[in-house]
């Protein structure tokens, strides 16, 4: 029987230059694996691979040098160890994320729980071309949100509270946008300059800044053959469910308008950003 390479690729088996050898891509969400999963992966790499694993550029893990004859056996063993196989080809890829607000002091949003929701909803969905989600918890942008077809960046919608404020001046120095001025009597806040980084909230020693988690979305990032920065949705989203609704619309737009083999960015460039903005319901900056 001829080898069904397409089916293998769907299941995350990447053909190697060595005949009948495959690099087995595993499913990872937000760069997290349990120690149990790692033990499973290590054992299989020892037994069926050449004893190593490869960490991919997008937080994925691959076991190289899996022989074609062992593919099904390895898949079953992985499933028993709680490890799923990844995907390649024209579909929604690994959802990447930084550690987010549950672990990192800089985080403004819970990236892992949102990445898990996004992965459950879209992972492996067939589209005209690959589609990458990336989530980063704050403006430090460790996860490079704008490189992704759909990037999510955490921030805060901030509010100054007069009562607890001691006018110490730390927030003015913490703000990198020049949006704050602390006077003898008050804090002057130029909202137009605020980029939602939340440094005022994080730095305030008196809890005089309140921050509500906000999601800054960008669409159409590419960092491969073509390099293009994702364009940011002007509106700031404050509800994680709304992020999913906007993602639904973006993916539907791509499914409807994309030509086979055309990246999302190129589809939107061809069809028009205004039309795309009208479809998702918001302007891009």
């Amino acid at each position: 029987m001829a080898t069904d390479y397409k089916a293998l690729k769907n299941g995350g088996f990447m053909r190697q230059i060595q005949k009948d050898n495959f690099s087995l891509r595993l499913k990872v969400v937000g760069g997290n694996l349990t120690s149990k999963q790692l033990k499973t992966i290590a054992a299989l790499a020892e037994e069926y691979g050449d004893g190593r694993v490869h960490l991919t550029s997008r937080q994925g893990v691959e076991i190289p040098f899996i022989r074609l004859r062992d593919v099904e056996t390895v898949k079953e063993a992985l499933a028993l160890g709680g490890v799923d196989t990844g995907v390649c080809g024209p579909r929604v890829r690994t959802v990447t994320a930084c550690q987010g607000s549950e672990i990192c002091p800089s985080g403004c949003i819970d990236t892992l729980s949102l990445a898990t929701k996004i992965s459950e909803r879209y992972f492996g969905r067939e589209l005209p071309h690959k589609f990458k989600f990336g989530l980063t918890g704050c403006q430090n942008n460790c996860l490079k949100a704008e490189e992704n077809d759909l990037g999510v960046k955490g921030g805060y919608n901030v509010e100054w509270l007069e009562e607890p404020c001691t006018l110490c001046g730390v927030c003015e120095k913490a703000c990198r946008e020049g949006a704050l001025k602390v006077t003898e009597e008050t804090v002057l806040f130029d909202r137009a300059k605020c980029n939602h980084c939340g440094r005022c909230v994080k730095s305030c020693p008196a809890d005089a800044w309140r921050g509500q988690s906000a999601y800054l979305l960008s669409f159409g990032g590419l960092f491969g053959n073509r390099i293009a920065k994702g364009r940011q949705l002007e509106a700031v989203v404050t509800d994680s469910e709304q992020v999913l609704k906007l993602a639904d619309r973006a993916l539907d737009f791509f499914a409807k308008h994309g030509k086979p083999g055309e990246r999302f960015r190129n589809t939107v460039d061809r069809v028009g950003w205004e039309e795309f903005g009208g479809h998702v319901g918001g302007e891009m900056s």
């Binding site: 002091p105 001691t166 006018l167 001046g169 730390v170 003015e172 120095k173 913490a174 990198r176």
Partner: protein
């Protein structure tokens, strides 16, 4: 820039303008740990990265940041009361 509440006179002083991140915070933290509980330490910091990060890191450690004094030379004195072990 001044504080609403008058800043108390410090009980100790440390110059952290001669080191860079993460030693700025480490130097401040070690100096603060040598203070008596309730004591006020004045930490001299460079403008920019140290001023954006050190107050927050000390706050996260449970210390009480009281305010900033502008030295008008590109440095600030951060006044912190030791409130945690």
């Amino acid at each position: 820039m001044s504080s609403k509440a008058k800043l108390p006179p410090p009980d100790g002083f440390i110059d952290a303008t001669d080191v860079v991140c993460p030693m700025t915070f480490v130097k401040a933290k070690v100096a603060l740990e040598e203070m008596d509980m309730g004591g006020v330490l004045s930490i001299r910091l460079n403008e920019g990265e140290p001023l954006q990060n050190v107050p927050r890191s000390l706050k996260d450690e449970g210390q009480q940041v009281l305010g900033l004094q502008n030295n008008e030379d590109g440095t600030y004195n951060l006044l912190v009361r030791r409130a945690a072990e």
